[in-house]
């Protein structure tokens, strides 16, 4: 069956040429392209899609060869569920939007690419003395188990100006957490955002506040 996002490889080939490190791109099929870039030792294969809710099943449709190093999703702010994340980690294959692919090319790290924010949160939580494990339930939610305390589910929202609608949508899309982390260090939550979180029985914590709270029951 023809996919509705069968335009994405052609679209991405044109777009990626704007990146200063990209030398050439070539469409291999509707959802697959080949990319040559400065700093990469060989041409890499990139699978493409435009999908709002990404699962391992969705990925399986376009991940047609294990030579594919990155899955580019044109749809920004997409939801990646646990199965998609597991597929990405285990294969391994990088996954993300256009900005993520640019960073992966610059960092010469396509297969194991993770956004800086995700890397920072995972590293910080895993080094916490109370934390025994951290797993990603989706691309915004972290499930934390702790020594002698109940597990905690953290929803990380990275808006600079955190709004009530971002809180409401975050809960609706990513599931009800134990608390909300403002993962942007310069985040300013609006009065309405704090009220929306409070109405759902949730605290909004900064990174430092979260690390402190993990010591408490």
């Amino acid at each position: 069956m023809t996919r509705t996002d069968n335009w994405t490889a052609g679209w991405a080939c044109d777009k990626l040429l704007h990146h200063d490190k990209v030398i050439a791109t070539k469409v291999r099929n509707d959802n697959l392209l080949e990319l040559e870039a400065n700093g990469l030792e060989y041409n890499v294969e990139i699978a493409t899609m435009s999908v709002a809710n990404v699962t391992a099943f969705e990925i399986g449709e376009i991940y047609t060869s294990n030579s594919i190093e990155f899955i580019l999703n044109i749809k920004a702010d997409a939801y990646y569920d646990r199965t998609a994340i597991y597929f990405s980690e285990q294969t391994p294959v990088g996954i993300g939007g256009v900005s993520d692919l640019y960073r992966a090319i610059t960092g010469r790290e396509l297969r194991t690419y993770l956004p800086e924010e995700t890397k920072f949160i995972l590293r910080g939580l895993r080094q916490h003395s109370k934390v025994t494990s951290v797993t990603r339930a989706n691309n915004r939610t972290y499930q934390i188990t702790r020594n002698n305390h109940d597990p905690v589910t953290v929803l990380a929202l990275n808006e600079y100006d955190l709004t009530a609608e971002a809180v409401r949508q975050g809960i609706e899309r990513f599931g009800i957490p134990s608390l909300i982390l403002t993962s942007n260090p310069n985040c300013h939550p609006s009065t309405e955002a704090l009220r929306a979180a409070s109405n759902s029985g949730l605290s909004v914590l900064s990174w430092g506040e979260l690390l402190g709270s993990l010591h408490r029951a």
Binding site: K75, A166, S190
Partner: protein, 107 residues
């Protein structure tokens, strides 16, 4: 005036499709205002996402616009921020970000 960053300049489809689509939404839903902001408004900038601001009076008005923007966002990488009128005032967002009202850009 050339508002558009390089993303738009190199894509006639975006110029002829995105702006009219957003503009008609902006005009149709009277108590919701649509703005564009960010790097797309800077000529010769490299644009990864199109930043859209939706300012609303009541969140109940958002379902229709969210549905319409969701369809458009499958075709273009868009980052959409929803702000109540009170939040926009609190952050002084439109002025600080030099956001442009969509219906005024296409006039």
């Amino acid at each position: 005036m050339n508002y558009w960053g390089r993303y738009i300049v190199h894509s006639d489809t975006v110029k002829t499709f995105l702006l009219p689509a957003l503009s008609s939404l902006d005009a149709e839903i009277s108590r919701v205002k649509l703005y564009i902001f960010g790097s797309i408004l800077q000529p010769d900038s490299i644009v990864n996402d199109i930043d859209i601001l939706v300012v609303y009076e009541f969140s109940s008005e958002l379902d229709r616009i969210r549905y319409a923007l969701d369809i458009v966002s499958h075709r273009f990488p868009m980052h959409i921020t929803y702000m109540s009128t009170a939040e926009e005032t609190q952050f002084d967002f439109v002025r600080q970000q030099h956001a442009k009202r969509v219906c005024e850009m296409s006039a």
